[in-house]
């Protein structure tokens, strides 16, 4: 990109390719290319070297969303984890639990996925690994019932943090979105301000459908944090640029592997640099 003497059509096309292949999507890419062309027209940008810098700043601006990251302002601090199938919800809860336990917090995991085969068993193993407690009701098929009892127990046992795992679900399944809303209502019966954090898990390998997911989950559940998983692969996760810009939801952490330590706070500078 940067061996060029001037910003021309070829260069803009190369930039378009970089942004599209990083999954920023057509709309966000067009908005960024337009802002570059505006600058060039106004003679504010004529050096290809400065171009990369300008783009990085613009993308950083899209990602810069002020938001209360997980702050344990309340006790028990209720974290509800949601998202479509297979994105890494259960594993991410395992990672978060380990992190919070190491910080000296008392963590309770809730096996809110009462549907998928061996979901409870999977979470139990993560409880063992992290040292967190876990509430699981093997014979109960209604996640709201499990969550209600668990939140009550968390208050009684004076837990610091409650991490609620839910079953994966496509945002297009209206009845499953209603099930989520019911889970939120039962939390609010016990804790009117809850859930304090509703985390949407997005998979970095996803394409533009992630935007549809974010919008619909947000509309149903008021997401106030996102975790982007599987950034250890070759996908760039550019879907979050448009999502952050549109919905103004902060990215809290990134998942970079399958082990307990493979979770890092989101760093917009590193993320933007990795795109190029």
């Amino acid at each position: 990109v940067l061996g060029k003497k001037e910003i021309d059509e070829d260069l803009l096309e190369e930039l378009e390719e970089i942004l599209i292949t990083s999954d920023l999507g057509v709309m966000t890419t067009q908005a960024l290319i337009d802002s570059v062309q505006q600058k060039v027209k106004r003679k504010e940008l004529d050096n290809p070297e400065r171009l990369k810098e300008f783009l990085q700043q613009e993308i950083h601006r899209f990602l810069d969303v002020p938001g209360k990251l997980i702050d344990f302002s309340q006790k028990p601090f209720i974290i509800l984890v949601i998202g479509v199938n297979g994105v890494g919800k259960t594993t991410t809860i395992g990672k978060l639990a380990g992190r919070f336990q190491r910080e000296g917090k008392k963590v309770l995991m809730v096996a809110g996925d009462t549907f998928r085969a061996a979901a409870g068993e999977q979470l139990e193993i993560w409880a063992e690994r992290s040292g967190a407690e876990i509430i699981r009701q093997k014979e109960v098929s209604d996640p709201s019932a499990v969550v209600f009892d668990a939140v009550k127990a968390a208050k009684a046992r004076e837990m610091d943090i409650v991490l609620i795992d839910t079953a994966g679900r496509l945002h297009t399944r209206v009845n499953l979105m209603e099930e989520l809303k019911k889970i939120r209502r039962v939390i609010q019966k016990e804790i009117p301000d809850g859930p304090h954090k509703t985390l949407l898990i997005l998979d970095a390998t996803m394409g533009q459908n992630a935007i549809s997911q974010a919008r619909i989950f947000h509309e149903a559940m008021e997401i106030n944090g996102i975790i982007l998983t599987k950034l250890d692969g070759t996908a760039k996760g550019g879907i979050i640029v448009g999502i952050c810009n549109e919905l103004k939801i902060p990215i809290e952490y990134i998942g970079i592997g399958e082990k307990a330590d493979d979770l890092q706070p989101f760093n917009p500078d590193e993320f933007v640099r990795a795109l190029f």
């Binding site: 390719e17 998928r116 297009t172 459908n209």
Partner: protein, 292 residues
């Protein structure tokens, strides 16, 4: 929708009886945008548009169709042709037990799809067996055993302390002794760039010699689909692909990207979490869906 956008584009170019370079340029730009929005890979979309341009230049607009309809017809045909045209059924010929090996990225739907395939084959009067070869993921063996219970098929009693290559070999012996055929090997999710784990898959292939090696890929995959498919194919020489989570609203451009890049047939699609939710792949329906 694409047809609405194309109609708008061609309205401005009214009265043109032939598809020319000029009026095609705008139309194809709309098609290209539709493909990119559908997650088709940047380069795949470019190559595809070039092909369509070649095919449609100088064509007379059929009297019965508007220029927009003409472009859509050509694009639809090209897309359908690209994504179909190869053998879609499972190759189960050979001395039993034959193996079907499933591979793919983490969370793509392999374990669930293994159960779906088992149920599908049982209904075709086979006696399939499931082999849990994922010794890494917490409760993975448990998950496949439960899935096998729902499908009503035998599941190999995997020991997570045994390495997956030896495990699969023993499972083939178990299958033979129990008169099971075919055996479906459910492997652990892994990155296409993980040398050690890709080597493990290659070793399973070399030892077991499966009839089918299927890439299980998520329909919502974005631009990365090309990298993943290419690498898995390089390591394993895939025999086909299964696209999961197709009942959602993802446009599924990954289907075109994968097919263009590895030229292997998409054999099935997953359309839900239940074990009945497996359907054959229809290239024409996929083409309309991608175009939006």
């Amino acid at each position: 929708s694409l047809s609405e956008r194309l109609n708008l584009t061609f309205k401005k170019l009214k009265g043109q009886g032939k598809l020319s370079e000029a009026n095609m340029k705008e139309g194809l730009r709309e098609v290209r945008l539709a493909l990119l929005e559908a997650d088709v890979h940047y380069k795949v979309a470019k190559d595809f548009i070039d092909r369509v341009k070649e095919r449609s230049l100088g064509q007379e607009v059929l009297a019965s169709l508007t220029p927009a309809q003409q472009v859509i017809k050509i694009v639809q045909e090209e897309l359908t042709g690209l994504m179909g045209g190869s053998r879609q059924d499972l190759n189960l010929a050979g001395r039993p037990p034959v193996a079907i090996m499933l591979a793919g990225l983490q969370g793509s739907g392999k374990t669930t799809t293994a159960g779906k395939l088992a149920l599908y084959l049982k209904e075709k009067n086979f006696r399939p067996g499931l082999v849990p070869a994922d010794v890494y993921r917490p409760a993975a063996i448990d998950q496949l055993q439960k899935v096998g219970g729902v499908a009503g098929v035998e599941v190999y009693p995997s020991d997570p302390k045994i390495n997956p290559v030896a495990l699969c070999l023993s499972a083939m012996e178990w299958g033979k002794q129990n008169g099971l055929n075919p055996l479906i090997l459910d492997t652990a999710g892994r990155l296409h760039i993980d040398q050690a784990l890709m080597t493990e898959l290659k070793q399973i292939k070399e030892q077991v010699r499966p009839n089918e090696i299927l890439l299980v890929a998520d329909a919502m995959t974005g631009q990365d689909a090309v990298n993943v498919a290419q690498k898995f194919n390089e390591w394993l020489e895939l025999s086909g692909v299964i696209l999961t989570k197709m009942e959602g609203d993802a446009r599924g451009g990954a289907a075109l990207s994968i097919k263009s890049v590895i030229q292997k047939p998409i054999k099935f699609i997953g359309v839900g979490e239940k074990l009945e939710a497996l359907e054959p792949f229809h290239p024409d329906r996929m083409a309309s869906r991608i175009l939006g």
